[in-house]
């Protein structure tokens, strides 16, 4: 699986996505957002009277020549845009065909690559029961291979504690950035609470809900013992048509609630069906302005 996860075709698709991203998103934003990577421009903001301790290099000598008083120039603080990708690595992600975790890793890699190419830094941080150590503050496209290696080695295991993970994240990352959360978001209430924490710390958020075809329309009927992939708890059920109908209604309302919550707080949201190619999905996200600030 790991060999096939990021093959040559995948890298080609990354290049393609970068081009698409430049045309759709970053080309338009160049004039709107300052970036060290776009040149060393220093934007003047205001004047104020000189006070001892100020850097004498900031004194505007032409004003002093005209007015005979010392004024220093004030400049706009330069902004960096950091991309943080929080990747759910709980056992529930290792499910379905095509596999949700593989799909999530491809999405994470693709988004990170776009971030490396167009933003100040890109980070991928895994989380399950707690926030893991990922690859953080990577800069430049050349770091993409390091990132791919990391993602390839990443296992999907354990239960999810989204709340604890985000709590750790906000203590670790103080500076607001663009945070993309890739998860199946089971346990919605806890997930909302976790997203709230990120929101409170001024992070720009985008949530990607991963779902496999099986979860959208389970192809089962009859006598089943359903076993939870995370907790190994089980439930004996006779799966009937009416039960499947209720299941699909419940899953639809679950996704709708997450979407509604996201819209309410201006959070980007997309449902990623693992049957949809990851590059198509990324293009869709870009079209929706998913990576804009």
């Amino acid at each position: 699986m790991s060999d096939e996860l990021f093959d040559k075709d995948f890298l080609k698709k990354l290049e393609y996505l970068d081009l698409v991203a430049r045309r759709l998103v970053f080309g338009r934003q160049q004039a709107m957002r300052t970036s060290v990577k776009k040149g060393a421009s220093i934007e003047f903001k205001d004047f104020r009277e000189y006070s001892p301790g100020d850097d004498p290099r900031t004194i505007d000598w032409s004003v002093y020549a005209r007015l005979g008083e010392l004024y220093v120039k004030l400049f706009r603080q330069e902004e960096e845009l950091d991309l943080w990708i929080l990747l759910d690595t709980s056992a529930s992600m290792d499910f379905g065909e095509p596999n949700k975790f593989d799909h999530a890793r491809r999405l994470a890699a693709a988004l990170a690559y776009i971030g490396l190419a167009n933003m100040d830094s890109a980070s991928v941080v895994p989380f399950a029961q707690e926030l893991g150590r990922g690859r953080e503050k990577l800069r430049g496209r050349s770091r993409v291979f390091e990132l791919l290696d990391f993602l390839t080695q990443l296992p999907a295991q354990g239960e999810t504690d989204f709340e604890l993970a985000t709590k750790t994240f906000v203590t670790r990352v103080r500076k607001p950035g663009l945070v993309v959360i890739i998860s199946d978001f089971y346990g919605l209430l806890k997930a909302q609470s976790a997203i709230d924490q990120l929101r409170f710390f001024k992070h720009q958020l985008y949530v990607i809900q991963i779902a496999s075809p099986w979860e959208l329309d389970p192809p089962i009927r009859g006598e089943f013992r359903l076993v939870d992939t995370e907790t190994s708890e089980h439930e004996d059920l006779t799966v009937t048509d009416s039960m499947l109908k209720r299941y699909k209604q419940a899953f639809t309302s679950f996704s709708a609630e997450l979407r509604s919550y996201s819209m309410k707080y201006s959070i980007g949201y997309s449902l990623a069906d693992t049957e949809t190619a990851f590059d198509d999905f990324v293009v869709k996200v870009l079209q929706r302005g998913g990576l804009t600030t």
């Binding site: 949700k100 089943f224 013992r225 359903l226 076993v227």
Partner: protein, 629 residues
């Protein structure tokens, strides 16, 4: 209940396999899910049915066990009967005669033969024990279709292969054959499956307790021609067709008969016939040229085979005769010939003395018939027809061994055309010649000691009727028998020629020549003359005879013998076959044969299979219902 195939009980051992398969069927499949809580939430919404589900599972398993039991029992071919039943040797006689072609409108328009085959199916499947079977077809002649076997299916297959026979069957002969084949068998039984054959069956089944009559058919709606014959009326130069029709139904019927001569309508006779009675009519047909007559009833009924019959109309022609007799003896012969007109053409006939004959024998023109009375000609023509009275040439195969005084005369062949309407009782003869016939001859009248007195010498090129006594030395000329004999002789030897065969045969009857064939004829051709086509068949002769047995179809035949043609017809014309009214059995065959009871109106194995299929459907529905509740 008894199982005809008890080995099937071993199949109960698959009951365990069924339970195992069922448990496999209801075994829960393990399925991992990313979030069990989702499903738990759904379960909590649904009403609790665990007990109901469990009961349904038990019900389903119970159904499957019942289904297996039913199928195993069905495979065992169970039968239901009371008491101890012993196997029997059963000879089935299937009547496939013409009346079995009757269409039974109350039985989905099936023929009686089809119903009889169904009866064989029923009989062979409902006997409660393993019997030994044999099947005899009572058609043209009794024929064993399958010899003793315990394979019921083979008996049914053999019955299915039996085809229609459009003639009359001989049930008595079939029964006799069955009895011969049942000798030595334990508990013999003969089952005759027939429509009754005009009460013949009642006699057969009552005189022998081993015979069981299985009646077939209920319909009696039939009108059929039971007789059609034609005679020639020479004075009127016409043919008289005599027809007899039988109404087998219980209703009066008004219809008509159409007579067609060589395909053209010659006469139409409307008639009304009372229920269960006969109607007869003689119809005059002015057709001196002759032809093939077809009479048909213009009405559809249950049996169409007997609605038509055929007859041959011979061309009407007169005979030229030459009477060779001493002048003083000519009177009675001449009077007899004159009385025959127009059978005899008097203008072309003449009378001469023996001396004149001897003088002019070489120059005598062809006569159809030469009559020699009390004379011994030096020579006679090599071919021709002759009557020799009290003397014949030496070349005939007759040896005179003495004289018989005052012999008594008896007709020995009553059905011969030469003796038709002839009564010779108490004819007074002064004396006769004692003769011995050295070649095959037909003796028509003889003494009490079997000395031939009137006989027919039938040679390939010559036919000669010989009287071994002096007619004028008896009282025969004063009796009607004399002109009658002379008339028969002229008709038989001349005007009704060529009488190689009879003019009518019944279906299945074998055709053989009534007189020897010419020696130079090695094969004959028989053509079937029908309205649609003429089919021919050539068969070799056997010496001076031939045998033609393909008389299974109705219709006219033309037989070519050398340069001559002979015509005949093949008819059904059977009162026995036309009277299709049901003959009720004295006892129910099912009682006699101890047939198994029925289940749901079917034989048990079929009923059990149907029930099992119904239960399979019920089980599937209940299981499916559980999934889709």
């Amino acid at each position: 209940m008894t199982l005809l195939a008890p080995w099937a009980l071993w199949l109960f051992s698959i009951g365990g396999a069924v339970v195992a398969l069922y448990l496999l069927k209801i075994r829960r499949h393990r399925q991992t899910v990313p979030a069990i809580e989702f499903w738990r939430a759904l379960v909590s919404q649904a009403p609790v049915r665990s007990l109901f589900q469990r009961l349904k599972r038990l019900f389903s398993l119970l159904l499957w066990l019942i289904i297996v039991a039913l199928l195993v029992l069905a495979t065992g071919n169970p039968i239901f009967s009371f008491g101890k039943i012993k196997p029997r040797s059963i000879a089935i006689i299937l009547d496939n005669s013409a009346s079995m072609q009757t269409i039974e409108s109350e039985a989905e328009n099936k023929t009686r033969l089809q119903l009889a085959k169904e009866a064989i199916n029923e009989l062979t499947s409902r006997r409660p024990v393993a019997d030994e079977w044999m099947l005899i077809e009572a058609g043209r002649e009794p024929q064993v279709h399958i010899a003793w076997t315990r394979d019921r299916r083979a008996v049914r297959d053999a019955a299915d292969s039996i085809k229609t026979y459009e003639g009359s069957s001989d049930l008595a002969a079939s029964k006799e054959l069955a009895q011969q084949l049942l000798v030595g068998k334990e508990r013999p039984c003969i089952v005759i499956i027939s429509d009754g054959a005009n009460d013949e069956i009642i006699k057969l089944s009552t005189e022998d307790k081993t015979v069981v009559y299985w009646p077939i058919g209920n319909s009696d709606d039939n009108l059929g021609i039971t007789h059609l014959s034609v005679r020639t009326h020479r004075q009127k130069s016409a043919h008289y067709a005599f027809i007899r029709v039988l109404n087998a139904s219980g209703n009066e019927i008004e219809t008509r008969i159409v007579f067609e001569l060589d395909g053209s309508t010659a006469a139409v006779e409307p008639f009304t016939i009372a229920a269960n009675s006969e109607w007869e009519k003689t119809v005059i047909l002015n057709a001196p040229q002759g032809g093939v007559l077809r009479a048909s009833i213009d009405r559809d009924d249950s049996l169409m085979l007997d609605n038509e019959a055929f007859a041959i109309l011979d061309p009407i022609r007169s005979a030229s005769t030459l009477l060779i007799t001493p002048p003083e003896d000519a009177y009675f012969f001449e009077q007899a010939l004159v009385a025959m007109e127009p059978l005899v053409d008097l203008d072309s006939s003449s009378t001469i003395s023996p001396d004149e004959f001897d003088q002019t024998a070489a120059t005598i023109q062809d006569f159809d018939l030469m009559i020699f009375n009390n004379c011994l000609p030096k020579q006679i023509p090599p071919t021709g027809k002759f009557i020799f009275v009290n003397g014949w040439p030496a070349e005939l195969p007759i040896t005179v061994s003495g004289i018989i005084d005052s012999p008594e005369l008896f007709v020995s062949q009553r059905d011969h055309p030469l003796t038709r309407y002839l009564t010779l009782r108490a004819v007074m003869l002064a004396q006769a010649q004692r003769v011995e016939l050295t070649q095959r001859s037909t003796v028509l009248a003889q003494t009490t000691e079997a000395d031939p007195l009137i006989f027919l010498i039938d040679q390939p090129d010559r036919q000669a009727l010989c009287l071994a006594f002096d007619v004028l030395d008896s009282d025969l000329p004063f009796r009607n028998a004399f002109p009658m004999l002379m008339r028969n002789a002229v008709a038989f030897l001349v005007t009704e020629q060529p009488n190689w065969i009879r003019s009518e045969y019944h279906i299945g009857e074998i055709i053989q020549p009534v007189r020897p064939l010419p020696r130079d004829v090695s094969e004959i051709t028989i053509a079937r003359l029908s309205a649609d086509e003429i089919s021919q068949q050539t068969i070799p002769t056997n010496g001076e005879s031939f045998t033609f047995s393909s008389t299974l179809e109705r219709g006219p035949l033309r037989i070519s013998i050398g340069n001559e043609f002979a015509y005949a017809v093949v008819n059904l014309t059977s009162t026995k076959e036309t009277a299709i009214g049901p003959v009720v059995a004295i006892a129910q065959p099912g009682d006699n044969l101890v047939l198994t009871g029925r289940l749901l109106g079917m034989v048990p194995w079929l009923a059990l299979t149907v029930i099992a299929l119904a239960l399979i459907t019920l089980e599937w529905l209940t299981y499916h219902f559980r999934w889709t509740e």
